[in-house]
Symmetry: C2
Subunit: 132 residues, 2 copies
């Protein structure tokens, strides 16, 4: 098992919880503290678990079913912190879009031993994609 397997598993849990619109699973994954921050594509940064949880609640109420295909996943671990950079390729009702993303985790009691403290995604504009 690679050192970063745990954090990559935690990272995948985020997308499973999102696809399943499972607020409990999302709540288990996140560090429910003031330092939790989340920047959805085009949004201002939400600070603290309250506003972050409320945003997922609102997003999960929406009718649209989102499916993520994850590419370019890369995990870096330094002590009790790790971050995963990846592309979220979203397959939705309105066609595909790529969201460049960074997720930060700290060691904790969450599933896989890691808890999410930061999610930041931003849509990659046409013509700004990386090579093949």
């Amino acid at each position: 098992m690679r050192t970063t397997d745990g954090v990559l598993a935690a990272n995948r849990r985020y997308y499973e919880a999102f696809e399943a619109k499972d607020l409990d699973a999302m709540s288990d994954l996140w560090e429910r503290s003031d330092r939790a921050i989340c920047t959805h594509p085009g949004w201002a940064t939400l600070e603290g678990w309250g506003p972050v949880a409320a945003s997922f609640f609102a997003l999960f109420q929406g009718g649209q079913q989102i499916q993520f295909v994850l590419t370019r996943e890369r995990a870096i671990q330094v002590g009790d912190t790790a971050w995963v950079s990846l592309d979220e390729n979203l397959l939705g009702d309105q066609g595909g879009v790529t969201v460049a993303t960074i997720n930060i985790f700290v060691r904790g009691s969450g599933p896989d031993g890691w808890q999410m403290v930061c999610h930041h995604g931003s849509v990659v504009q046409a013509g700004r994609h990386a090579g093949p």
Copy 2:
């Protein structure tokens, strides 16, 4: 001195280097390694110091003078890693824009004892700004 003063100082160096179009200062600040990653607003994520440096070189060649006003700066430190979330308020030739940003640093030999390993900024869309 608060524990996070060093990383906040390192964070400000990024913007000073950007405003001064100083590639040497940017190079001193960043960890010049494969794990350096950078996502400029709307861009795909650049991986490794080579592509990251090339992007700053290209941006600095541009004629536009950018001035940053930083708000909502918040630093979190966990061991030898720290991250700073903030809003970059850009005052440019084409009016103002707010860029929600996360910067990640690791302890190192850079100025202020920290080196940048990740920068990710995304434009906050109208109507998505945080309260007052």
